[in-house]
Symmetry: C2
Subunit: 321 residues, 2 copies
């Protein structure tokens, strides 16, 4: 199924969210406006607002009530992206130069700080203390994930457990909060809140694992950045870790020692990771998380919205971009 | 009067706040702990917590109630400092290397993001929606101030009005919020809330103007950074703007054109700024704000706490560090 079709139920409202995002991010000051809008336009799927709206559809759906949450979630996500690009030295994202690449580190820091601060106004507009509490907690944990990445960036011995903690903090928790809080803003029952929270967490884990797989397998044009970018930056992700587990002769291990200083034989290394089964096993892990996400919905009564959640979960591991 | 004596009424509780700050900022991860603690120890007066506690003394003082606010205010302040040092390329603050200087830009971004996120947990712990709202608004405005500085950094034609807007955003609003919200957390009357808010705003304006004056006049050892640092960075502050207004022959103006590329004749330029009356007129502006701050307290009944607020206001323009 196409990605667009998946969000059919909230398509119109997602369009309104896009307009709200433009309103929030645009600036009277031209000096700021261009990089801020560049960041907005470069950024993708609006998965967090989409999940929040869909989750609200499981309860008393009131677009005006869930709107500030949906916008805040995307702003938080954007703020972390623009700071991450500085830390990871990323020059390309989705085929476009990053804010860092075009306007430099200082502007990236500011834009991130500003967009994050704006998200606080919207969180306040939710008028729900639980929403504020959850997003404060998630924000703190997200910074822990970023820092873990900075710290462990060049560390091949990163254990699988550490990798999982990192992607939970960096990706899964905000997706989990998107689902959970969307439900909260529509007064769904505690049982459904719990299902949404678990679903978002597991889908988030799978989503990031697939992202890390696609970094090795996707078409460069589709990906918008060079294949193996993570590895080139010295970032060790699940496919590598799983391949290393099967690397009895320590050949892959030895070659990784010289990265990212020596990027010449990166193609060869990727081939080895594939040969050792790193990619296919990582897919198995992602599918396992998707099954957990689907199970989380077991107790939620059948409805078109529930079906959509299940289809999205399936789509996450099938996508090739 | 000595600075320490000014906060005599809240001395014990400020000590507890310092311990809370250590608890909040310290990290299990050593990689993070050192720069975070460095930032905490490098940073000064704890003016924002002190104002919050003193303001609470005007109402039903309950330390446990005002504590999370006081800690959050200092964390917000610290987060802005560590990001500012990246943007301003500052290597020294209060005589110590900045986090940027010792650990680099990436760590500075992270530490700032993390400490700011932690402040959100404490704001949540205040359990007061007005507190959350005001601090969200102030945070957005503070980023506007930073960006204004980035934008106008090398712009000699910065008008005095723009300078005032900038220091309001960068400094005065958070001090204003510290006073106002300290009162809020102690249920002071609306009239006193208003007095505190105005007082903090005007004291904040005066405080920043004096800071900008001291950059030219203070002893290098007391200042902890080279005299004229702002100007060396191309930062045009009130003493310069006021001197330029009297610079009929455009001599100062011409010399400033070559800054900061040419820092050789900075001593000469500072002398000119002084000769043109830039310093003394800037002091007059600071004193004018202090008078407004004091007037804001007119309707507050006399008490030792009120006296303290008035003494602090007087001290702001007398301090030489």
């Amino acid at each position: 199924m196409e990605e667009k079709k998946l969000f059919e139920l909230v398509k119109e409202d997602l369009r309104k969210i896009e307009q709200e995002l433009i309103n929030e991010v645009s600036e009277r000051n031209e000096f700021l406006h261009d990089p801020a809008m560049h960041l907005l336009k470069a950024g993708g799927k609006r998965l967090r607002p989409a999940f929040a709206l869909l989750a609200a559809k499981l309860g008393d759906y009131d677009f005006e009530k869930v709107k500030p949450l949906a916008v805040a979630l995307e702003l938080i996500h954007m703020a972390t992206l623009v700071h991450d690009d500085v830390v990871d030295n990323s020059m390309l994202r989705r085929g476009l130069p990053t804010v860092k690449a075009n306007w430099g580190n200082k502007m990236s820091i500011h834009i991130g700080d500003r967009i994050f601060a704006k998200s606080l106004l919207l969180i306040d507009a939710c008028k729900n203390n639980y929403v504020a509490k959850v997003l404060a907690e998630v924000s703190v944990k997200m910074t822990a994930g970023e820092i873990q990445q900075l710290n462990g960036a060049k560390n091949i011995s990163t254990s699988i457990k550490e990798y999982l903690i990192k992607i939970k903090r960096k990706t899964a928790l905000l997706l989990s909060a998107s689902c959970e809080l969307g439900g909260i803003m529509a007064n769904v029952s505690p049982r459904v809140v719990y299902a949404l929270k678990q679903y978002g967490l597991y889908v988030g884990m799978a989503f990031q694992i697939v992202d890390d797989i696609l970094d090795f397998t996707a078409d460069e044009k589709v990906l918008g950045k060079p294949v193996g970018s993570d590895l080139r930056q010295g970032l060790i992700t699940l496919p590598v870790l799983l391949a290393l587990k099967r690397d009895k002769k320590h050949e892959l291990w030895r070659e990784l020692q010289n990265l990212p200083q020596n990027n010449a034989n990166i193609e060869q290394i990727i081939k080895e990771i594939k040969n050792l089964g790193g990619i296919s096993e990582a897919y198995a892990w992602a599918k396992n998380y998707i099954e957990k996400a689907i199970s989380a919905f077991d107790l939620v009564p059948k409805s078109p919205v529930k079906d959509t959640f299940l289809e999205i979960a399936q789509f996450i591991v099938q996508r090739n971009y």
